[in-house]
Amino acid sequence: MTAISTPALSHLRALEAEAIHVIREVAAERERPALLFSGGKDSIVLVRLAQKAFAPGKVPFPLLHIDTGHNFPEVIAFRDKLVQESDLTLLVGSVQKSIDDGRVREETGPRASRNRLQTVTLLDAIAEHRLDACFGGARRDEERSRAKERVLSLRDDFGQWDPRRQRPELWDLYNARVRPGEHLRAFPISNWTELDVWQYIAQEELELPSIYMAHEREVFERDGMLYATSDFITLMDGEEPFTASVRYRTVGDMSCTGAVRSTAGTLPDVVAEIAATNITERGETRADDRATEAAMEDRKREGYF
C-alpha cells in the first residue's frame, strides 16, 4: 500500500464516469428503461455514454423520440442513420397522432407551438410501452428550476414532478425504486454545462445533425430571435424573410427554436464560439422558456422532459 500519485482526473473524464455509473445503475434496477432521444446534442451525448456503459455488450434499452411533426428534416435524417448504424432500437411517440386521436388540441395562431403538447404524447408513450425509467439529457445549467432536480427524479402516475418531495441523493448511492404506475426520469449529465457537452463532442468526435454548424438558411426575425421559415410557422405583419448564415445551439420544434448568426462551420469553431458566448442557450434560442418567469418549472411539474 504505497502512495502513488495519479495525475488529476480531467473534468470530462470525471463527468463521464459519473454519467456511466448512473446509466448502469438505472438499467440494473429498473425493468423497462428507455432513452429520450430528441436528435439534439445532449441526447446524442447520452447515446454515446450508453454505448460506453454497456460495451462490449449492446445498449439494452430502446431510444424514444417524441416526434412533434415539426422537425428539422436534417435531424430526422440524422436520427434514422444513427439508429441504423449503431444497432439501436427506436420507439416513436407522435404528437400528430395525439392530435388526430383527440388527446390534445393543436394551438392556433402565428405563435402556435407543439412544444407543450409533447407532454401528453410522452406520458402516453410511457404508458403504452410500460416504461419505468426514462433517461433524459437535461442539464442543471440550463435553467434555474433544473438546478434543484435530482439525478434520479421520481414522477407520479400523472408524470408530475414535486420539487418539495425529492429523495435526498447521497454519495453515489442512488435509490431507483418506484411503485407501480410511477416512473423515474434519470439525468446522467445533470452536472454538465453546455461547454462540457461541446468539449465532449469534440473529444469523442461525435457526429451531429448538420444544423449545428453554420449554414445559409431563410429566416425571419421575431422578438429579437431568428426563426427558420417553414410550413409550421405563419409570418406576422412586417416579418420579412431573408437569408443569413446561422447555426442552432439547441434542437427543438422548428416553430419555437431560434437560430444564432454564425459563420462557425466546423466543430472547433463552434466550441470556440460557445466558450466566448455570454447568453445561455435557452435564453438565446428557445421561445418556450421565455414565455413566463416560471415557464420551465410549470412544464416540469406537468411531466415535461
Binding site: A55, N278, T280
Partner: protein
C-alpha cells in the same frame, strides 16, 4: 482542468445565496440573459441571491428550499457546487451536499458568530470527513471590517474543531455583498494576508480516493464476444489490471483479473473513480451486488453493523424497525437493532435516545438479512457508506457511515 465538488452551508440570511451569486457573477458563469433577469427583479442594487433561488415558491417566499447544484468554471478549475440551505431541514440538506463534497464552505455571519446551526454544519462536515473546510466570515462590512471580530470567530471554530475532529480548516473574512475577498483581495482588510476565497477554491488539492486495495461494486454483468462475462461498475478505490489477485465478496471466491476496460475500451490498468469493466479468470459466477476486492486487502463480510446514521425521513424510527439497506450496489433487508447515542450539538455529547427523528445524527447498531462487505467509512468512503430505504414509502430515510 480538474473538478472540485464543494458544498456550501450557513444559517438563513448568513448571505449564502449572495456569495454564490457573486462567485458565479465574478467568475463570469452568469450570462447576460440571466443577469438581465436578476436586474429586472432586484429591488435595490443587484440582488445576486436571485441567481440561485430557483423555484417559484422560493422566489415568492424569498427562501431557499432544497439543495441546488450549480456548475461553473474558471480558467483553472471546473466546479460543481451543492448549495445546502439553512432552513428547517438543514441537517438533511447539509448531509446530502457534504456526502459528495471535496470541500465544505461554511458561512458565518460576523455579527452573530457561531450559532447552533454553524455548530451543526461544522459537526456534519467533520462526521462526513469532508476533506477541506473553509469558514468564510461574512458581512465583515457590517462590523467595520474589524480584525478582532474575525479573530474571535476563528478561535471559537478552532475550539469547536478540536472537540469534533475537524481538521484542515481555513478562515477567510469576506463581504459577499460588497465583494471583499471573494474574487479580489479586499482593500478594507489589510490585516488579512491570505488569498481571496476563489483563489483558495482554485488551488486546494483534490485528493484521489484514499489509496488502498481495489474495490469494485458490481453493477451489472455484461456479455462480450464469445460469451465472455464482464463485471461492470465504478471503481470505488484502488486500481485493477490483468493478473491482479482478487476476491469476490461475500462469496469469498478467489481468482485473478484477466482483462480490464475503461470508457474507451481495453486498458492496461484502470483507476478509481472511473467506470470500468473487468473480466475475471476461471469464469467465476458473478452477479450485481457483489464486490470485487484486492485479495490481500479485502473487507470481511458481516451481518452486523455499528454505524453513525443521519436521519433524513419524516417519520421517526425505533429499534425493531425494518428497512432496505443499500451498500454499493447491494441491497439487503436491515433491522435497526439499537440506538446507542444521539448527538447533542450543544454539548457535543452522545446521550442515549429512544428513537431517531428527522435531522438526528446517532450511533446505532443494525442487523442485516444478508452479508455485506463493508469498510470503515474512515478508511474508504465509497464502501463505508450506505443508505436506508423505507419499504413502504420507498423514500431514502437515512444516510449511514460504518464505524
Amino acid at each position: 482542468m480538474d473538478l472540485l465538488r464543494l458544498a456550501t452551508a450557513g444559517s438563513v440570511d448568513d448571505g449564502k445565496s449572495t456569495l454564490i451569486g457573486r462567485l458565479l457573477y465574478d467568475s463570469k458563469a452568469v450570462l447576460a440573459d440571466q443577469l438581465a433577469h436578476v436586474e429586472e427583479r432586484s429591488v435595490d442594487g443587484l440582488d445576486l441571491a436571485l441567481l440561485t433561488d430557483g423555484l417559484r415558491a422560493e422566489r415568492e417566499q424569498g427562501i431557499t428550499i432544497d439543495v441546488a447544484y450549480r456548475s461553473f468554471a474558471t480558467p483553472r478549475r471546473r466546479f460543481i457546487l451543492a448549495d445546502c440551505p439553512g432552513h428547517a431541514q438543514y441537517t438533511r440538506n447539509m448531509v446530502t451536499g457534504a456526502s459528495t463534497a471535496d470541500l465544505a464552505l461554511l458561512l458565518v455571519d460576523a455579527r452573530q458568530g457561531l450559532t447552533e446551526q454553524s455548530r451543526r454544519h461544522a459537526a456534519i462536515a467533520a462526521l462526513l470527513e469532508v476533506e477541506h473546510v473553509i469558514v468564510a466570515v461574512n458581512k465583515m462590512d457590517l462590523v467595520g471590517y474589524a480584525e478582532d471580530v474575525f479573530d474571535g470567530i476563528v478561535r471559537d471554530v478552532i475550539e469547536l474543531g478540536a472537540a469534533i475532529g475537524l481538521h484542515k480548516t481555513d478562515f477567510i473574512p469576506i463581504s459577499a455583498l460588497k465583494g471583499d475577498n471573494v474574487v479580489e483581495r479586499s482593500a478594507q482588510m489589510p490585516w488579512y494576508d491570505g488569498p481571496p476565497l476563489l483563489e483558495r477554491l482554485e488551488t486546494v488539492p483534490v485528493e484521489p480516493p484514499a489509496v488502498h486495495g481495489a474495490r469494485l461494486p458490481v453493477q451489472l454483468v455484461l456479455r462480450g464476444e464469445g460469451g465472455t462475462r464482464w463485471a461492470a461498475g465504478r471503481l470505488a478505490a484502488g486500481s485493477l489490471k490483468a493478473g491482479d489477485e482478487v476476491v469476490v465478496l461475500p462469496s469469498g471466491t478467489r481468482t485473478r483479473v484477466a482483462e480490464v476496460r475503461d470508457a474507451d475500451g481495453l486498458a492496461e490498468v484502470v483507476d478509481a473513480p472511473l467506470s470500468v469493466s473487468v473480466r475475471l479468470e476461471d469464469e467465476v459466477d458473478l452477479a450485481r451486488g457483489e464486490l470485487i476486492a484486492a485479495a490481500d486487502d479485502a473487507p470481511s463480510p458481516t451481518r452486523e453493523l455499528t454505524a453513525t446514521v443521519c436521519w433524513l425521513g419524516d417519520r421517526p424510527a425505533r429499534p425493531g424497525d425494518r428497512f432496505q439497506l443499500k451498500h454499493g450496489t447491494r441491497s439487503v433487508p436491515a433491522k435497526l437493532d439499537s440506538v446507542d447515542g444521539r448527538i447533542d450539538f450543544e454539548s457535543l455529547e452522545w446521550p442515549g435516545a429512544e428513537e431517531l427523528r428527522l435531522n438526528d445524527i446517532a450511533h446505532v447498531k443494525i442487523r442485516l438479512g444478508g452479508e455485506i462487505a463493508a469498510d470503515a467509512y474512515a478508511r474508504c468512503h465509497a464502501t463505508g457508506a450506505f443508505i436506508l430505504v423505507d419499504e413502504s414509502s420507498l423514500d431514502t430515510v437515512a444516510a449511514g457511515m460504518v464505524s
